[in-house]
């Protein structure tokens, strides 16, 4: 059985072997002077200093060297190395769970090769009755191969596994291991965690307890002296120049290694075209930013990527993003024929001051509503209007169903009781007069709704300032949601979802005809903005996502609405809320109606989403990047990690060593018995040395006899 050492650093003590050799070579003179009757003959013998460098007592030297060697070896704690397979054969069958890290950071250098080697080695130790489960984990854990004794299958699965783009989280993997081992029926339960043990993957408050008797063996593939340059962030500065929108890209670069990166080329590419390249120097453990030349954003969903440097982890050397021109939300305000345009002045004024997003408003009388006026609109506002012509009504209905927004402000011109439309969130009733006293006030507001969430906090708008002299009654349907009520319980605002679109009904005109102070109140403007952006399903355009994000159909749909193509008559008839998602690796998934509700953005790169009925338009593009935490390769100390996971030290409560999980403490101690023998041998050698040295000194004692007087 081969030996290894528990404390090999003590072997440096073997250097002390030089000491006795030097002592024997140097042959230092005794301090005592030997009195001799006459130097008559001694003086005749030539004195040769080289003689002093001759070893005179080989036995004494050998004893001294043996004593030192034995003592040093004993302190180094020699350990009988027993193969894991041999150890495994000594006791019962094992239930082994291999937790193999496939997060993006494992792509660093040869970490992945080492990890798969370690996994294969674990599989090689499996006995005929042992079972093993292979779990691949990154941010989530997946049971890749269920408990099996088929080593070939396990090896094949390990060989087929690939490093992903996701981040690292140990907790899901450990919970899965905990679950698997809890259910296991075999007597010995083991989990083997093979990872680079990134610090960012573990939060200490995670509560994980392996079953009693189960052991956790960490196998770290982390290496020292890591160097990694990553493109950690990208920001955009938009500017309009000669009627065109230009964007200036600034990329942040982070060097988390100990070696500087000097004059590394940082490159900006847009739609496959190289825009700019600049050299940049990043000191160790520092960040720098680089700003590229601006470029014109002329198309929707333009694909951009910033690349910088080459190192052992290439995946974080690129940052992907998609950009579209920022366009205002197009709002069509329809008012009753013959009414003064001033009736919508409060509305247009409020929308005119918007910048994020900007609004573009058009006011038309109801008689002039045509399909062309609805095309490319984001939101339509029916401001106290008489019923639309049936053609326009159908068109409006289709507009809403396909994602358009509709705001209906009820008033005098709105049909009287009995007026009902599939678009309205309820049945309209007669107006209610609140002329007595100060008028009606808003008594209930659903702050959980997106539109009113802004006013939830104290001093975030006082709705008590608005007094209403009259409002229309609205009886909401069972699927409709009441967002606000007056103090007498009457509905002030209700919502209905129609198809992919949204409809909000406000039971009072958005002018000063039924409420003198509401359009002049401070909260009028933000309330109108919130209602319109909500109806427009406006979200701040996302330039990039992080791996693991779930993308549903609402995102590309919102982009369509934002781009103003929801009312496109040419494609509207054929359009459904269905999209075909193509991943960077070419995998296709259908989301929306008839497909999956969402798709996980699991790969780094560009996902394209082509919505049904969008024809030849550019598809929606989602740029996906690594979790920035994956670039932080600082590792945990594996044994400390296991201790924090299990709440135990390096040896588990069951009395088993982590390094040799098959062995009890007694076994481990028994395998280290050699050091006792070495200690005894060293002591015996020292004893022999003392005896021999005394004997040698005894001879010398002759010369030390004192001269006696006669």
């Amino acid at each position: 059985m081969p030996f290894t050492f528990l404390a090999p650093a003590f072997l440096a003590g073997l250097a002390a072997l030089v000491v006795p050799v030097l002592i024997h070579l140097i042959q230092r003179e005794r301090k005592e002077v030997v009195a001799f009757p006459s130097l008559m003959f001694l003086r005749r013998i030539p004195y040769q200093s080289v003689e002093r460098r001759r070893i005179h007592n080989w036995l004494l030297l050998a004893l001294r060297a043996a004593a030192i060697t034995c003592l040093v070896a004993a302190f180094s704690r020699p350990f009988l190395k027993e193969s894991v397979a041999a150890a495994a054969a000594r006791s019962g069958a094992r239930e082994v769970v291999i937790l193999l890290d496939v997060s993006a950071s494992m792509g660093y250098g040869d970490h992945w090769a080492h990890a798969t080697d370690a996994a294969h080695k674990v599989v090689a130790t499996l006995g005929a009755e042992d079972r093993c489960t292979l779990v691949l984990f990154s941010r989530n854990a997946e049971e890749n191969v269920r408990a099996t004794s088929d080593r070939g299958r396990l090896d094949a699965a390990i060989a087929a596994a690939k490093v992903g783009s996701d981040g690292t989280r140990f907790a899901p993997a450990l919970r899965l291991a905990q679950s698997l081992l809890s259910r296991a029926s075999l007597p010995r339960k083991e989990a083997v965690l093979i990872s680079d043990f990134q610090k960012t993957g573990w939060e200490r408050h995670e509560d994980i307890h392996l079953p009693e008797g189960a052991t956790m063996t960490p196998v770290s593939v982390a290496t020292d002296g890591l160097s990694d340059l990553s493109v950690s962030s990208v920001t955009f500065t938009r500017d309009t120049f000669s009627g065109e929108e230009r964007v200036k890209v600034t990329a942040g670069l982070t060097n988390r290694g100990l070696t500087p990166y000097t004059n590394v080329a940082a490159t900006l590419e847009v739609d496959g075209r190289r825009i700019d390249s600049r050299p940049i120097t990043v000191a160790p453990n520092a960040s720098e930013s680089v700003t590229f030349l601006p470029f014109t954003v002329s198309e929707t969903s333009m694909r951009g990527v910033v690349r910088a440097g080459t190192d052992a982890l290439p995946s974080d050397n690129a940052y992907y993003f998609s950009l579209s021109p920022s366009r205002p939300l197009s709002v069509l305000i329809v008012q009753a024929d013959g009414t003064d345009t001033a009736s919508s002045v409060y509305l247009t004024t409020a929308l005119g001051v918007g910048s994020a997003p900007p609004f573009k408003t058009d006011v038309v009388p109801v008689s002039r509503v045509t399909p062309s006026t609805i095309e490319h609109r984001t939101v339509v506002v029916l401001h106290d209007v008489t019923p639309l012509p049936s053609a326009a009504d159908d068109l409006l209905k289709r507009f809403v169903e396909q994602g358009g927004g509709l705001l209906v402000a009820l008033g005098d011109h709105t049909p009287w009781a009995g007026g009902q439309s599939p678009l309205l969130p309820g049945a309209i009733g007669p107006p209610v007069d609140r002329t007595s006293g100060v008028g009606g006030m808003l008594g209930f507001l659903d702050y959980s709704h997106h539109v009113l969430e802004l006013f939830k906090d104290p001093r975030s708008g006082n709705f008590a300032d608005a007094h209403f002299l009259r409002y229309r009654t609205l009886t909401p349907g069972p699927t409709d949601r009441v967002l606000a009520r007056f103090d007498d319980g009457g509905v002030a605002m209700a919502e209905r979802h129609v198809g992919s679109g949204r409809v909000i009904a406000w039971t009072s005109p958005l002018d000063d005809s039924w409420s003198v102070d509401f359009p002049k109140a401070k909260l009028f403007l933000p309330l109108v903005h919130e209602m319109v952006t909500y109806l427009a399903q406006y979200t701040e355009p996302t330039t990039s996502y992080t791996v693991g994000h779930l993308l549903d159909v609402s995102v590309p749909m919102a982009a369509i609405v934002r781009e103003g193509t929801a009312g496109d008559t040419q494609s509207a008839a054929a359009r459904k809320a269905t999209g075909l998602v193509v991943s960077p690796s070419g995998q296709q998934t259908t989301i929306g109606e008839g497909g999956a509700p969402s798709v996980e953005l699991a790969e780094q790169g560009f996902y394209t989403v082509r919505m049904q009925g969008t024809g030849g338009e550019r598809p929606f593009v989602a740029a996906v990047n690594l979790d920035p935490a994956e670039s932080d390769l600082a590792p945990l100390e594996p044994t400390s990690f296991v201790a924090s996971v299990t709440g135990q030290a390096a040896v588990t409560a069951a009395g088993q060593s982590l390094e040799h999980p098959d062995l009890t403490l007694e076994d481990v101690e028994r395998k280290q018995y050699v050091w006792w023998f070495l200690l005894v041998a060293g002591a015996l050698a020292l004893l022999g040395e003392a005896v021999l040295a005394n004997r040698v000194s005894g001879r010398f004692g002759i010369g030390l006899m004192q001269v006696r007087r006669g």
Partner: protein, 300 residues
């Protein structure tokens, strides 16, 4: 302790406990005499040796009148030795004699040897005397039948305190020995053999019977040191670095050569040379010496 047939020997360490030199000498010598098959009464012989022709000046009392009656010529009887001979000890008390790697120093051992020989001579009614010296003469006791106890006292008082030099005091002392004597030189002989022989030759010319007792400590003979040290000369105080382990063989070779040179050169001038190891029993040394002496006298 090594044993020799016919003799029992006493460890010098045991002798060292006897503080009375007379008792010590008596213990050694009488034990030693009892072990001999034949007592070689040295110098006290009355045995007839030969006749020689009378020459004017001879004592007429020595004329063998019986031979004159038979031959009508004057012959004088000659005997093995003269009775009441002088026995003089030349004892080196230089500082190097204080060296002792074991229980007995060379000075002590030499004292025992001198005492034993003096006691032996005293038993034969010889005159005994002693001269101690280092670089010069320290004490001089002329030979006399009454000086045995003075000799012992002188030995008792001997101190190895100063550096020594054989040639000067030996040359100076040669003039003091008018009568033929048995001269016993007891020293560690750290002197060039030629110089030593040159210093002793006058004694031979003057008809003295010279015996050299070369007293050495076993450490001086075997050089058992192993560690590199500084060695200090006991007499001069000089220190030199010594790689004992590597010097040992060379030292032993030089010491052997020194002893061989002394043996050879002493034999050339008919000086008895006896090497005494302070680790060896004292009576064993006497036995060896007197045994050799007897053999030599028979040859003569």
């Amino acid at each position: 302790m090594s044993t020799t047939p016919g003799a029992r020997f006493i460890d010098p360490k045991v002798l060292g406990r006897i503080r009375n030199l007379e008792l010590l000498a008596k213990t050694v010598v009488e034990g030693f005499i009892n072990g001999l098959h034949r007592a070689p009464y040295f110098g006290a012989s009355i045995d007839f040796a030969e006749h020689r022709g009378y020459v004017p000046g001879d004592d007429i009392r020595r004329v063998d009148w019986k031979v004159y009656a038979r031959t009508d010529r004057y012959f004088v009887k000659q005997y093995e030795a003269d009775t009441n001979a002088n026995f003089a000890v030349l004892f080196d008390v230089s500082k190097s004699m204080a060296f002792a790697s074991q229980g007995v120093s060379k000075l002590e051992y030499g004292s025992y040897v001198a005492a034993c020989l003096a006691y032996l001579s005293h038993l034969q009614r010889d005159r005994v005397g002693i001269t101690t010296f280092d670089e010069d003469v320290v004490a001089y006791v002329p030979s006399s039948a009454k000086h045995f106890h003075v000799l012992l006292h002188t030995l008792h008082q001997a101190r190895a305190e100063r550096p020594g030099r054989l040639s000067v005091p030996l040359g100076r002392m040669a003039e003091h020995f008018k009568r033929r004597s048995i001269v016993a030189l007891i020293s560690d002989l750290y002197e060039d053999p030629d110089d030593l022989i040159q210093a002793l030759t006058p004694y031979r010319f003057m008809g003295h019977d010279v015996v050299v007792f070369h007293v050495l400590d076993p450490a001086e003979i075997d050089f058992p040191y192993r560690d590199a040290s500084r060695f200090q000369d006991l007499e001069s105080g000089e220190e030199i670095p010594v790689i004992a382990d590597s010097f040992a063989d060379e030292y032993r070779k030089l010491m052997r050569a020194h002893i061989e040179a002394l043996t050879t050169k002493c034999a050339e001038v008919r000086i008895d040379y006896v090497l005494l190891n302070t680790a060896k029993p004292l009576d064993e040394a006497l036995f060896l010496y007197l045994g050799n002496r007897e053999r030599l006298m028979r040859v003569r």
